[in-house]
Amino acid sequence: MQVVVCVKQVPDAEGPITVDTAANNIRKGWLPDVLNPYDRLAVEEATLIKEMCGGGGVTALCMGSPSATEVLRTCLAMGADRAILLCDPALDNSDSYATGVVLAKAIAALKLPYDLILCGARAIDTNTGLTGPTIAQILRLPLVTEVVKIDVHDHEKAIVHKKLEAGNRAVIETPLPALLTVESGINTPRYLKLRAILAASMKTVEQYDLQALNLVPDEVGLAGSKTKVVSIAPPKPRGKKLFTPDSSLSAAERMRLIMSGGIAQKASSGLLEGDPRTVASRFVQFLKEKKLISGPPPGRG
């Protein structure tokens, strides 16, 4: 099995990212950029598939800045056999769609062999999820998104599980080659041993620019992008009201509110109490009002 995995380098969002509204961008924390977490799952899965099929190869493909060689080395340490960086100033500021175009055309131009192309379900920085589907569209491949299980049968077809709501799954059969985007829960990526990291640091990361890929500047970067970020702001707290401690409360009470994260009072005005059966039927009534359960159908006369 030949697997191509598309990966992206993203700011480590576990770290202290802040928003620079003036510059219309984020200010990255002190943590180094990382392999997009969903792509890490994709690389792990590609390696597992290769091992399971007893042969083939895994190619990690990344469009990014020169520093993205670091995430490609991570891929090599995880078991990728070949690492390719598409790097050109003209590619900067590509959105999900333009990135998909570049990756698809690179796969074609470089004649990368594949039975399967894997992508992360989304990148945590832009949170769009359009790159994989765009590649599938251009290469005319069957596509399954948000996959949490892959079983490959004889290079010909794969049976995959797609994550739906509430823990449900769709079991989907696809002919190969196909493009799958992987969702959290598919595997637990391996822990990288120092030896693997060192070995990966010795390997080459191939690099190609716009010319090598037969791409024209109109298709890529800002020019090729369909969307534009007009502004960026710190996240707004959703739904619940912001906390303002009520000065009429006792100090102890105010402390308690602060300790609880200062979420505004919702129900304390009317706590439900009484004997368990009455309370329970009020609870059930509440669930019905919230449409969380359906009541018995209305009786007929």
Partner: protein, 340 residues
């Protein structure tokens, strides 16, 4: 580009009929349509149901497209193909989908096929002065929020998180015009097909996927008492979780811990039993849609988050809740037997 007119909403159904998110999108779409002097349409895949059409009308749809073909049944690829043909023909300027697994799947396929942009998981929408759709969405793992536009390509496609927009019935009563479309599909392309649907099993479901979580803290008192929570979770089709104290006391495994050092969860219903409400815990569950709190301490901070707060002993209240739920489910089963 200027020829593109109208707003199209992808209408989605589940067992309960039209999904709430579709009504939310229609209400928002109606507002935009009125402002732009545009038409609002909804598209339903593979369902010809007058009741659905009426609800779509009530919420502002001028037109309802019904895409119907047996080929659409098990193939999101064909559904996307049919929808992209419809979009090519009708040229809406805006297409809105729910950020559900169906909506997300369709939206990425349409954006790719129609060579246009997409803003995913939006939490707000608005129109700019020149009538462009301004799409607000979380980025960098919710650490920032970006406003995105799609300046030239059409349609402008957004998926919107369920529950963030208001539902309003339309001011004007309409009867939407129904347009049946038998899609022409290219069956020659290799294609993935759904072969089976596997229902989620609460016993193995992960916490971040569970629609209902019954969560217990130190107040539950023992591992045996946790059985009471498990029973309640079972009748609600949910899973059991707990606070750090519940883990430390050995009531539940650490994989079931909710909070800063545990899992972040966003179920439809979170029932907190005997949990005091430390910020370390609430951080992990504050985005739950509906929160029910049971505690015997009136001043427990957890009550501050409750949509329904119950003051009392969980050891008697939880079993009473379970019984009440079992009773109504039996009643409805008997009722449906009597009716058939």
């Amino acid at each position: 580009m200027s020829a593109d007119k109208g707003i199209l909403v992808l209408a989605e159904c589940d067992e309960g009929g039209l999904c709430d998110v579709s009504l939310e999108l229609l209400s928002e779409g109606r507002r935009f349509a009125d402002r732009l002097g545009d038409e609002l349409s909804a598209v339903l895949v593979g369902r010809d149901n007058p009741a659905l059409v009426n609800r779509l009308s009530e919420h502002g749809a001028d037109k309802v497209y019904l895409l119907d073909s047996p080929l659409l049944e098990n193939s999101v690829e064909f559904q996307a193909q049919a929808l992209s043909n419809l979009v090519r023909e009708r040229k809406p300027r805006i297409l809105l989908c729910g950020a559900t697994s169906f909506g997300r799947d369709i939206a990425v396929r349409l954006a790719a096929a129609l060579k246009t942009g997409l803003a995913s998981n939006c939490t707000a929408l608005s129109l700019s002065e020149d009538g462009l759709l301004v799409q607000t969405k979380p980025v960098y793992r919710d650490k920032a929020s970006a406003n995105v536009i799609c300046p030239t390509a059409r349609p402008q496609i957004a998926t919107v998180v369920p529950g963030v927009l208001d539902v309003k019935r339309a001011k004007v009563t309409r009867q939407a015009e129904v347009i049946r479309v038998a899609p022409r599909l290219d069956t020659s392309v290799p294609c993935a097909k759904a072969v089976r649907f596997a229902k989620g099993d609460p016993k193995t479901m992960s916490l971040d996927e569970a629609p209902v979580i019954v969560s217990g803290g130190r107040g539950v008192g023992s591992r045996e008492n946790f059985r009471l929570l498990e029973k309640l979770a079972e009748v609600l089709g949910g899973v059991v979780a707990g606070s750090r104290m519940a883990v430390d006391e050995g009531y539940i495994p650490s994989t079931k811990q909710v909070g800063q050092t545990g899992k972040t969860v966003t179920p439809k219903l979170y029932i907190a039993c005997g949990i005091s409400g430390s910020v370390y815990h609430t951080m992990g569950m504050k985005d739950s849609k509906t929160i029910v709190v049971i505690n015997k301490d009136r001043s427990a901070p957890m009550f501050n988050m409750a949509d329904l707060g119950i003051l009392g002993d969980l050891l008697t209240i939880v079993p009473a809740m379970t019984n009440e739920l079992i009773m109504i489910s039996q009643a409805s089963a008997e009722e449906s037997l009597r009716q058939s």
